[in-house]
């Protein structure tokens, strides 16, 4: 019926305790989703060596990974739901819209080439109405803008020669939508005497996994593992500024591919702030920051939480003199990658985002700091707060110290 073998057997440990259900942002706002326990470990058990059961409600799983963190028994819930999504798509076929949305890299290439036009079109109501009707992309949903001068056009360094060497996995968002984040990251590394190489890379696969395009995603995963291992084996550390890409490299590649190579790579993968925090702990971080009298609020993306490394952005930004930053502790943004771009999910997406809006407004911050471009998109839609990536702030703080 479908030839995707899910190698996961951790479902054997499920105690049915519902911790995953309670932690699920989607289950918290709608009963239309069967919940992570049922669509993950429970369903897997019911189909093992038996007839396959297709449950279309799996489309509501965003693969945020909160369930994995909540599980007291270390069941890889989101791996099970990812494979359930894949089987569901294989059986029913992917919608044209989902094929487009899951191909963030291709869309990025095309849209950034025609950036001014594309951005304008996405803001035109008639265009959006047609997109809603034809493709099921809600007209109300704001889209991130694309940049003509994408990061690939401006940065082509493929090697580094410093003591510590960073192989930067840029990710589609920082490449095509937010090259300023990528540039800030390179700056920050420069201030620390670390050269940044940009290895050959493909979309991390997260948008594919979440749209059930497992095979395509695994192909990208394998390519990235092979490309990046060439760097790590030469002493490079793989560092990322996108929390979703980071989670893919650290966690999803490991549990989806179940290969030695994926395990090997994962040991060398760092979130950018996690990396800086490590430098600080080793006494290697340049702490020569300029004074910044700002009151900021931090919003942790789900894919940061699901890495289980705490909130390194808070740890690092807290080192800037005068910089006051508090955790909004605001749950999920509701955008959830491509999820919020889908008409039939829009209502749920906005409902999930509500608590974020409240928490963000409670902080009374000048602006919000978050790593994730999609969370930023949701915040743009639902609040009037400006949103910055931690690397932009750190870069600014280093520059301030320089100009003093």
């Amino acid at each position: 019926m479908h030839d995707l073998a899910c190698p996961e057997i951790s479902f054997d440990s499920c105690l049915k305790c519902n911790a995953c259900v309670v932690s699920c942002p989607v289950s918290n706002v709608t009963l239309d989703f069967g919940g992570p326990k049922h669509l993950g470990p429970e369903l897997k058990r019911l189909i093992e060596n038996q007839e396959f059961i297709d449950d279309s409600r799996i489309e509501f799983c965003t693969l945020c990974g909160n369930c994995d963190m909540a599980c007291p028994e270390n069941v890889n819930v989101s791996t099970l739901t990812a494979f359930a999504k894949a089987s569901h798509s294989e059986l029913g076929g992917s919608k044209f819209r989902d094929l487009i949305l899951s191909n963030a890299e291709l869309v990025g290439k095309v849209a950034s080439t025609f950036a001014p036009l594309a951005n304008m079109a996405m803001k035109m109501k008639p265009v959006r109405k047609v997109m809603e009707g034809v493709m099921g992309i809600p007209a109300e949903r704001i889209f991130p803008e694309y940049r003509f001068n994408n990061f690939n056009r401006v940065y082509n360094k493929t090697t580094a020669n410093t003591h510590r060497k960073v192989a930067y996995f840029v990710g589609c968002y920082a490449t095509y939508n937010a090259p300023e984040v990528a540039k800030s990251f390179v700056n920050v590394m420069e201030y620390n005497g670390i050269e940044v190489a940009k290895p050959k890379q493909k979309c991390c696969g997260v948008p594919m996994f979440s749209n059930g395009r497992m095979k395509k995603g695994l192909k990208n995963a394998n390519d990235n593992v092979n490309n990046l291992l060439q760097y790590t084996r030469q002493g490079y550390d793989v560092v990322l500024t996108c929390t979703s890409c980071t989670m893919a490299l650290k966690k999803e590649y490991v549990s989806f591919l179940q290969s030695e190579e994926a395990n090997e790579l994962a040991e060398h993968v760092y979130d950018a702030d996690e990396y800086l925090r490590m430098l600080y702990e080793e006494g290697e971080l340049n702490t020569h920051f300029g004074q910044m009298n700002v009151k900021a609020g931090y919003y942790a993306p789900c894919h940061m939480k699901s890495q289980g490394i705490g909130t390194p952005a808070l740890d690092v930004l807290g080192l800037i003199p005068g910089y006051e930053i508090s955790d909004a502790a605001a749950g999920c943004c509701g955008q959830c990658g491509t999820f919020g771009f889908k008409k039939e999910k829009y209502e749920v997406s906005i409902a999930i985002g509500k608590q974020m809006v409240e928490a963000v407004e409670e902080t009374g911050a000048d602006y919000i700091v978050t790593e994730c471009g999609m969370c930023k998109n949701s915040m743009h839609q639902l609040t009037d707060k400006e949103v910055k990536h931690p690397m932009q702030i750190l870069s600014e703080a280093y520059e301030k110290a320089q100009n003093r």
Partner: protein
């Protein structure tokens, strides 16, 4: 004053043998009443692998039993289509097993005509990745998986639809005799204590491990060999086919997939008390150690519970073998008129789940011969209504997994369940592990019967999954009270009984995840719901 029922035949014992006899009688147009001390299948009938034997296991030592099993295997696949999974079996030889036995076994299968097929070891390992990589030979057999719970319910349902009567929770407390003839039985209601006299021309003792006790009521000495065997239930169905060890039948060498789990066993120890279904941790450890020969990773697989049952074996010259392995698995039909000079009384015992229909056939043949009635047996041609219900539930909104289950389960109850599902505001699943909804539970609660969660479990699989009722048992009790099915006092008792019964089976297997599951269950029931230890009842 006692109630009185008059009928032609009384069948004692609501196991698969008794229900088979009842159905056979009903098919032949004989009025009959079945009495059972507890619920259907309280004894041996639900305390087994659920293995539909191909006969292969007995070919070398007991050709008759093997032939009988194979013939019945084919018949049951035809007449009980909804309760059998034709999984097939794989017999494998591990290095420790005797080569000569394999040769004898292959030859004996051929002689009887059981279609076995040797397959390459590599293929067996590909099909069943949990098998020992060191196996040296593998053979396919037509073994299958039969659900004993469904079988009982369907066989009884068929009998009742043909006019038979069933009294569960009615224990036989005395025989009604007239000179040297048994003319009826006195039964006592388990819940009310009320007694009923049932008069009949013939009483058939199909009480399994209790057959000796029943015979004793008739003043007949009958020495049963009750052979206790232990089994464990794995949390998941980790293999597709039945897995067997190709050697002289012994302990701990059969794995049978059934629904969402796998069952593994057994052991064999003779016991005097038919009610003895005690569980021993050491016995289980020994069984698992032996099981490693077939499935080396057996200790990594989660066991959700263990249970034991008594094989009611019988042979005229009692054997001194304490393991019972050498006692025939063939049936024993005792004509007490010939044997003991008591008329109107027959005992049927021994045999296998697989051969229950044949056991019923020969029993009823004998009974009718004695009654001077001549109606041929057709129970091998009459098909029990199928469990499939694919034409139903199309427009019902519910979890696909729960719907999938109903479509393979609801059978004749489908229409009632469907209309209930359409009425309900929510079709929320009560038992998540096994995907059971309230509508399904309601359809199996007897109208005038007692609210008993164990009885619901046997008919729906409620509480049979990994959590063993941790979450569904209190839900079902609460909903039952809310719906007016039972009082809160009865529901409390039912909950206590059900949880204690589950705890017994989990407790012996409680290591790792299962220990945590038990802890979670105890926390919910004792701490959150306040069910206290000292109020525990023996179950």
């Amino acid at each position: 004053m006692a109630q009185i029922i008059e009928t032609q035949v009384v069948v004692i014992g609501g196991g698969v043998t008794g229900t088979g006899v009842l159905r056979d009688l009903a098919i032949r147009g004989i009025k009959a009443v079945l009495v059972e001390q507890e619920d259907l299948g309280y004894g041996t009938s639900t305390r087994n692998h659920g293995l539909l034997h191909s006969g292969s296991r007995y070919v070398v030592k007991d050709k008759d039993a093997a032939e009988e099993a194979y013939r019945e295997n084919l018949i049951l696949k035809k007449i009980l289509p909804g309760v059998i999974e034709e999984t097939g079996g794989i017999y494998v030889k591990v290095p420790e097993d005797d080569d000569d036995y394999v040769k004898q076994w292959v030859k004996a299968n051929k002689e009887i005509g059981i279609p076995i097929e040797e397959i390459p070891v590599s293929q067996a390992l590909e099909e069943e990745p949990y098998l020992n990589r060191k196996i040296e030979a593998a053979f396919r057999t037509p073994d299958g998986s039969i659900d004993p719970f469904m079988t009982l319910v369907d066989v009884v349902g068929d009998a009742v639809s043909r006019g038979a009567k069933v009294l569960t929770y009615h224990k036989v407390v005395g025989m009604i005799t007239k000179q040297n003839k048994i003319t009826g039985v006195i039964v006592r209601n388990h819940y009310t204590g009320e007694e009923t006299e049932i008069y009949a021309d013939m009483v058939i003792n199909a009480a399994g491990p209790w057959a000796g006790k029943v015979a004793e009521l008739a003043g007949i000495p009958l020495q049963m060999i009750n052979n206790k065997g232990m089994l464990v239930v794995f949390n998941r169905r980790f293999h597709k086919q039945g897995l067997f060890r190709l050697r002289k039948p012994g302990d701990a060498e059969i794995f049978v997939p059934g629904h969402n789990v796998s069952l593994f066993g057994t052991t064999g120890i003779n016991t005097d008390d038919p009610d003895d279904t005690s569980l021993d941790r050491q016995e289980m450890e020994g069984m698992l150690a032996e099981g490693m020969m077939l499935v080396p990773s057996i200790h990594e697989l989660r066991i959700i519970r263990a249970f034991s049952g008594n094989r009611p074996l019988y042979q005229e010259s009692a054997d001194a073998d304490p393991t019972g392995r050498n006692v025939t698995r063939g049936l024993a039909l005792l004509d007490h008129q010939k044997r003991d000079g008591v008329e109107g009384f027959i005992t049927i015992t021994g045999g296998k789940l697989t051969t229950f229909r044949y056991m019923a056939e020969v029993t009823v043949d004998l009974a009718l011969e004695k009654l001077g009635i001549s109606v041929p047996c057709t129970s091998h041609e009459e098909i029990v209504p199928h469990r499939e219900a694919n034409e139903f539930f199309k427009e019902v909104e519910m979890a696909p997994a729960a719907k999938h289950k109903l479509r393979n389960w609801a059978g004749p109850r489908a229409k009632a369940i469907e209309s209930e599902l359409k009425k309900e505001e929510t079709n929320a699943v009560i038992c998540e592990c096994e995907q059971v909804t309230w509508a399904e539970v309601q359809s199996v609660i007897p109208e005038e019967g007692h609210f008993n969660i164990g009885d619901i479990r046997c008919r729906t699989r409620l509480g049979m999954g990994p959590c063993q009722g941790t979450f569904c048992n209190y839900r079902v009790a609460a909903i039952a009270v809310e719906k007016g099915v039972t009082t809160s006092e009865h529901a409390d008792q039912a909950l206590r009984d059900a949880i204690n019964e589950r705890k017994k089976g989990i407790g012996v297997a409680a290591t790792g995840e299962t220990a945590k599951q038990l802890q979670l269950m105890e926390t919910i029931y004792r701490v959150s719901l306040g069910l206290r230890e000292e109020e525990e009842q023996h179950v």
